[in-house]
Symmetry: C2
Subunit: 149 residues, 2 copies
């Protein structure tokens, strides 16, 4: 049976235990904040939201914790033309559109793309945890803006 995030409220706890991570209040807060977030938040985004409610939490803890989550495959770090890291809870399959003009990153889903098969040769040498299609291009808004030129 495959373990998934869905329908498993203890998914986070299980992952911590499996990876020998202590279940701290900070980690729970950060995990919840991230999974509740839209739009691929930066460390600072997560830190600010949490800091409003819990003024004692430190930036370093948020940063370190997010990197730890990445290390154990709990969240994703996404392609980011901006200068800040952006995180993505990888709970559901989705793909990314990247506007090279405004930097926007748009999620989209496609069962067809979800089903794409990884070349056998890759699977032999690399343990695949997650796969995604990343598309670079120009979003609708930016196309309209340049249309006048």
């Amino acid at each position: 049976m495959e373990i998934t995030n869905d329908n498993n409220p203890d998914f986070f706890r299980t992952q911590c235990i499996v990876h020998n991570l202590k279940i701290t209040p900070q980690r729970i807060l950060i995990y919840n904040e991230l999974t509740g977030a839209k739009n691929h938040p930066t460390v600072d985004n997560i830190y600010r939201s949490l800091h409003e409610k819990y003024p004692n939490i430190s930036f370093d803890t948020v940063n370190r914790t997010l990197l730890t989550f990445y290390d154990i495959g709990l969240v994703d770090i996404i392609e980011s033309p901006g200068s800040q890291r952006r995180f993505d809870p990888n709970k559901e399959n989705h793909h990314h559109l990247h506007c090279i003009k405004c930097g926007k990153i748009i999620d989209f889903t496609s069962s067809e793309l979800d089903a794409l098969s990884i070349p056998l040769e890759v699977g032999k040498h690399f343990k695949v945890l997650q796969k995604r299609v990343v598309i670079n291009g120009i979003c609708e808004d930016c196309q309209k803006k340049t249309a006048g030129l």
Copy 2:
């Protein structure tokens, strides 16, 4: 006829002209350095290589120029868990394996993946310039390292 980089030594010049960019010696150097580079260089990588041969070139020029190239779709900025931006000349189709343990990014090719079709709905709203499959996981070396635990 589709314009491609291959078999067209004036590709770079053409792109500059199309986008109203002046063809400066610095831009030529940076473009050549990037397209000749392996392994997804950072700004600093490119700057250092060039600075050895041309001590007058400035870091800012390298950085600004690479971002300009990205703006016009001439190069790619890739998914990078590290804290530095990493660039990739997008001249040929290829896909990425990302080791979440050591941060390595490995290129691989697959004509099957090159041929994947973008959902119609996406194409309607987004001008697709480039597409790529990004796979997160654990590389062979890192698998061996953890095997002993």
